[in-house]
Symmetry: C2
Amino acid sequence: MGAEGQLKATLKEISEPVKAEFDALERHFKDYLRTDVPVIDSIFQHLLDGGGKRFRPLLVLLVATCKKNASPEDINRLAVAVEFIHTATLLHDDVVDQSDVRRGNRVAHHIWGAEPSVLAGDYLYSRAFSILVEIGNLGILQAISTATTSMARGEVLQLLRSYSTATTVEEYVEVITGKTASLIAGSCRAAGYLANFDDDVLKALEHYGLNLGLSFQIVDDLLDYTAERGVFGKTAGKDFLEGKVTLPVILLLETLGSGSRRKVADIFLKETPDPDDFEKVREMMNQEGVFDKIREIAKQYSDTASAALAISPESDSRTSLEAMAQYVVYRRT
Amino acid sequence: MGAEGQLKATLKEISEPVKAEFDALERHFKDYLRTDVPVIDSIFQHLLDGGGKRFRPLLVLLVATCKKNASPEDINRLAVAVEFIHTATLLHDDVVDQSDVRRGNRVAHHIWGAEPSVLAGDYLYSRAFSILVEIGNLGILQAISTATTSMARGEVLQLLRSYSTATTVEEYVEVITGKTASLIAGSCRAAGYLANFDDDVLKALEHYGLNLGLSFQIVDDLLDYTAERGVFGKTAGKDFLEGKVTLPVILLLETLGSGSRRKVADIFLKETPDPDDFEKVREMMNQEGVFDKIREIAKQYSDTASAALAISPESDSRTSLEAMAQYVVYRRT
């Protein structure tokens, strides 16, 4: 891939250097989850079939293959563990939504309500740590447990700041550092241990992951306002309806005069916002150039991520990691 | 403590050999939770002030002091970590109840609904693993991560078997092994690593914890039917109302003829059971001698637990562990 190729690379092209390992992951997910209870297996099968980009495991594979001495089994373990942790977080994030929707009779609430999501998340999370312990590397355990603590902290912060239209860009970055970038940073650092990199490269890989993760989440939050219906994985407007104060809202409020700012804040704080409110806000963001500004901010984080890789040896995997940094900025889904 | 003293020992007497360390734990809980976000600290302070018996940390202290060579700091770390994991489980267990109670306006649901319990639990759980990683002993990490996986499995099984009046004693024991006994077994084994015990003693300590944990949970489930209002930590009848098929229900159904059995099962499956239903079932259990039978079963598990300790060296701590096995059978709260 040349510089131009990197900008336009698809996830498929990016995963090329680790194609066989990446394709085999779906099987490993299943193997590492298998229990002695068929009904638990079928619950998890359903979760795993839901798919996802497998973004974190792909990073693990690419980082760990930047040098050629990592144990393939340990790479799989780490790739599986970080995806399980990510899936657990998604399940726990869904809890409030689910408990809103699934009201009704008492028994059904037990079977399909909030609790199964919480417990399935706990199970995935516990399995992830068991698998990490099997690798037997304390550096990896430290990288991932630090990341998960930071994630939980970020999620709590995000919740505390729901509906707070006074949230600053700095506070926003603090939240997404925790809830998204920390696990990506920890995954890259942990994979670096598998490749047996020196401490300075480990730090660089963590720095890469941190900035890549910030860029990734900033674009995710952007897509929540710009995505066409049906293209983006989640419904556009979800953050808005849940009162999450993300970068598009913060930058819009910053650019507006105090009168308009008050009006937007009021819409945002309405008890029952409707799709028209969302469209109105989205149109204002577009007019104020908020979307372009955000893409530019994401690009800066991605460039910082790429630059951090210079210290690691050249390889196809490293080229893919650089391409990944650009991919997250320009992706549409 | 003589044999008679052991039977009647209070938790205070049992904790005597590790009194100073046990008293200092409340401070350690606080120190290990402290974050840079005051509002998170105050949430956790509230949780910790809720108290609890600190049963698992006390076991850690007693096992780890059966020999005199464990690092005091590592003992504290393990004691704190297992209590954090236990607290996280309680928080996640509460989720369904909370989401029932806390309905209402959209913002309040975000702040006081299911989500904070889930996230606070995740935070405690993550911190626990970080603290365990600080100890730097892979045996301990394996013991605890195996336990937490088993816990999550037990919780899922319990949920799947809600309202299933066909649940057998064996299936019940499988559930409580996971949800309660596994963490107690893992805590004892992990503390054994700190004391630098040989593998055969580690196994014996795990066996002690497993049987102690079963006895503990069996009595917990008994107290849910027998406790006087205000004495037991939780309201009597909670399991019944939640459709949890525990040992009192299973043994009652076993002893009844098919006609009465059908009637009890129908009460248990009612959409909205009332306190009278609970009193009716409780009275039948009393008449059929179910409560005495259960106390006897718990006693057998506790005796098995005590016997497992014979392999470890005599010490005040070991005597307390034996007394603990009896305490869990005869406790009223």
